[in-house]
């Protein structure tokens, strides 16, 4: 069996749920079940027999086998990582039914909650499954954060999932601010929830123990940190520094003394007159510090509209990870400064998870409902620290292998474009009224140098809707094969070319050939190739 990373992405062709809580599909709709973020939510209204179901684009095999193949399904885990009202219902058992391609129910099982998930092991007699349905039999809320599927016997390595269908929930055109804020730029296979306080849940990517850090909490007026956050930081051997003119929320807490014990740095120290914390100006000394590995910035909706907020500090701060709530409302959603502030951050950091916090409220904009708060989890671009020394002197390996720049393989792009696989028959792609907003680059592997990655990002950041495709040479070979009917000699010779520059040039050329061939056929009025070139 191929290793987990080599397994093809499993495509979900349909997902739906019985109802959406608050009627807000953006925050609680079925698309959130496959967004690879454990902190976003799927949640139904309370009603009889709530359900959630999804369909595999290609039916998966199930059953006990000696060696599972790449299209085998051994288990499904339904995670819950959030604290919405459905939490109580989550303690109830969850039912699962599996259906084959003919729509016949082939499996039925019920699982109790284990920790923060339900795990359905799928073994038994061989069969194929096309549709999966989860439901409850009582009046309840069905709520969870993420669905993960497994192909290994131990159900330990979740496979990558992609939701191909365009759900009704995504119909309203998203304001650009939300497009940028929800565009995941790094793939993070395992995220864990990290509470800043009771109201805030951020996703932490990677291994907690591997982080050597100092955590900074920046705020204009107050910093709200709860004990669990501080304790987590403490376990990670992080010193926590709260920076702001004053810290009323902190000092008002009854367990103030206990909290302050976590504060190891001189910026917030116990004095006879109470806690004394550093003024904002002292942050100047921190800019560029490599050990400031986690920064939480408290930003109000009004702060987001300013050009002189703490966000500037966060952008300049050499933090490894940045937690920041994007707060907008009806008045500020169209404010250009909000977007430029967001771009300021995304130029330095990549988003690897976001959590829609509906507790913070929502607002109407162009007949659609949007959340007032999205908690962004970000990581510094090209963050690859190997060994660092923490402020408490601990040396820890801090390699973020789990966080990889996200360059989708061609097959996944093709699936998004509605093509199952790359063959002579499927090219050129079906015609559209406009030139597809796609750009292509070619490289030996889908891993770029730091400089190339920055150039890549510049395009992405400035054109949010641009589909930037990075082809590796194996994909170039396949493209050449696909255009072989137009250039018969290209395909067999393409794999033999070893010079990277020649190969890249030919790769570009093969796309052009595809384009030219299409135009030629159009001119000749050939049918039925009513389609557009690849690029």
């Amino acid at each position: 069996m191929p290793t987990q990373n080599e397994l093809p992405v499993v495509t979900i062709s349909m997902a739906k749920q019985s109802s959406v809580t608050f009627g807000d599909a953006f925050a609680f709709g079925p698309k959130n079940a496959f967004d690879n973020s454990l902190d976003t939510a799927v949640e139904t209204k309370e009603q009889d027999k709530p359900y959630f179901e999804f369909t595999f684009a290609k039916p998966m095999t199930i059953g006990t086998v000696v060696q599972p193949d790449s299209n085998h399904l051994t288990g499904i885990r339904v995670y819950n990582r959030h604290r919405e009202p459905g939490t109580n219902s989550f303690t109830q058992g969850l039912f699962m039914e599996l259906y084959n391609e003919e729509g016949k129910m082939i499996r039925f099982s019920k699982e109790k909650r284990v920790a923060n998930f339900y795990l359905f092991n799928i073994a038994g007699m061989p069969n194929t499954v096309s549709r999966v349905k989860f439901y409850k039999t009582v009046r309840a809320t069905l709520t969870f954060s993420e669905i993960q599927i497994y192909s290994d016997h131990m159900c330990r390595h979740a496979r990558a999932l992609i939701l191909k269908t365009s759900l009704p929930t995504s119909k309203p055109k998203l304001p650009t601010v939300f497009k940028v804020a929800t565009k995941i730029k790094h793939h993070c296979p395992t995220t864990r929830a990290l509470s800043i306080s009771a109201a805030f849940q951020y996703s932490f990517c990677g291994t907690v123990d591997s982080v050597t850090c100092a955590a900074f909490a920046l705020a204009q007026n107050n910093v709200v940190l709860d004990a669990s956050f501080l304790a987590t930081m403490h376990r990670m051997e992080c010193g926590v520094t709260a920076v702001g003119p004053e810290l009323p929320a902190l000092s008002e807490r009854q367990d103030n003394a206990k909290l302050r014990r976590y504060f190891k740095t001189s910026w917030c120290a116990e004095t006879s007159g109470g806690s004394r914390c550093a003024p904002l100006q002292e942050l100047v000394n921190l800019v560029g510090r490599s050990d400031g590995s986690l920064v939480y910035v408290e930003m109000t909706a009004q702060d987001w509209t300013r050009t002189d907020s703490l966000l500037n500090v966060a952008a300049e701060f050499a933090a490894e990870r940045l937690f920041i709530p994007l707060r907008v409302n009806q008045e500020t959603i169209d404010n250009p400064n909000v977007l430029s502030n967001l771009y300021l951050l995304t130029a330095k950091y990549d988003i690897y998870a976001y959590h829609v916090n509906m507790d913070a409220g929502s607002f109407k904009h162009h007949d659609a409902t949007y959340p007032m708060e999205i908690q962004l989890s970000m990581i510094q671009k090209s963050q690859r620290r190997v060994v660092t020394s923490g402020i408490n002197g601990a040396n820890n390996a801090a390699v973020d292998d789990e966080v990889q720049p996200l360059h989708l393989p061609l097959d996944r792009w093709l699936k998004q474009w509605g093509v199952d696989n790359l063959t002579r028959a499927t090219l050129p792609l079906p015609a559209k009224a406009v030139v597809p907003f796609r750009s292509f680059s070619a490289a030996r592997r889908r891993v770029l140098s730091k400089e190339a990655e920055e150039a890549f990002d510049t395009w992405t950041n400035n054109d949010v809707e641009l589909e930037q495709v990075l082809l590796d040479f194996a994909e170039c070979d396949r493209l050449a094969e696909a255009v072989a009917k137009d250039v018969p000699l290209l395909a067999p010779r393409m794999p033999e070319i070893t010079d990277d520059r020649v190969k890249s040039a030919l790769c570009r050329l093969s796309r052009s050939i595809s384009s030219a061939a299409w135009q030629r056929r159009q001119r000749r009025g050939e049918q039925p190739t009513t389609s557009a070139p690849v690029a």
Partner: protein, 283 residues
């Protein structure tokens, strides 16, 4: 209270066949003097063979278990009653592909016992019962020997492991073996102290329930029939006393794990006691 009117001639002597080694039984069934893996699983003759398997750590049963063993002999006179000990279980585990090293690597004897019963029924066919399961009704009244596999429910979630039957080489039983073999490939990540229910999911009723999904022969017997009507489960670890019947969870409690175990709800402990009876964990 009805009395059991046994004729002296029907009472089996203490040197009963439970003392016979597996090779002895194999010769009886096949004519070959030594267990021959190439002949396993035995040929399916179209019915569930009249063999009743039990597993215990040694050939000699303790008094309470021996009483039940005797009664089964009296009530079901055509049954071959086979007690497999740990060494014989290990021999069977060697035959199933990839199983033996994983079987040896299991941390608890109760897990090996869970696997041994499946191996016995898969290779030889017949019926299996825990040594603390007593006779209640004639098997001919409720076991259809022409079924491929016969089994029931332990509770509303799990299939029953303490009594089941199948023809040799049955595909559903193979599923259980293969599924267990798959998931015990690496048990190093499992903290049995922190998660006492892991046994249920790795070799116990949980894995059975998963592996039997889609079996063409559905479970036939209700929870009540499995516990009280068709057979009676005596729950040795709770009722019989004696360290040899102490459940594995109690054994671990004695090693300073009481605090963790006590934290588990009483229901879960009872459940584990029931399903792990009667084998002591002789680690």
């Amino acid at each position: 209270m009805p009395t059991l009117d046994l004729q002296p001639a029907l009472v089996l002597p203490s040197t009963a066949p439970s003392q016979e080694p597996l090779d002895w039984w194999f010769e009886r069934w096949t004519g070959k003097p030594v267990l021959d893996p190439s002949m396993l699983p035995l040929k399916d003759t179209g019915t569930i063979p009249k063999r009743l398997f039990m597993t215990w750590k040694a050939k000699a049963l303790n008094p309470q278990a021996y009483d039940l063993w005797e009664e089964w002999g009296v009530r079901e006179r055509l049954l071959d009653r086979v007690v497999l000990d740990d060494a014989e279980c290990a021999r069977l585990a060697e035959i199933f592909p990839d199983l033996k090293p994983r079987y040896d690597g299991l941390p608890l004897n109760v897990m090996r016992a869970d696997i041994c019963r499946v191996l016995a029924i898969y290779y030889f066919g017949g019926l299996y019962k825990d040594v603390d399961v007593g006779w209640m009704r004639p098997l001919k009244d409720w076991v259809n020997y022409e079924d491929h596999v016969a089994y029931g429910w332990e509770d509303d979630e799990h299939l029953c492991q303490w009594f089941f039957a199948a023809r040799p080489g049955d595909r559903c039983v193979w599923n259980i073996l293969q599924h267990i073999t798959n998931i015990i490939a690496n048990t190093s990540y499992i903290d049995f102290n922190a998660n006492i229910e892991a046994v249920i999911d790795i070799t116990g009723p949980g894995v059975w329930t998963d592996a039997m999904q889609g079996c063409p022969t559905p479970p036939k017997y209700t929870v009540n029939e499995m516990k009280f009507t068709n057979v009676e489960h005596h729950y040795a670890s709770q009722r019989w006393g004696g360290k040899e019947y102490k459940s594995w969870i109690d054994s671990r409690r004695g090693r300073g794990l009481g605090a963790r175990v006590a934290a588990v709800q009483a229901g879960a402990i009872l459940h584990l006691r029931r399903r792990s009876a009667p084998h002591a964990d002789a680690e």
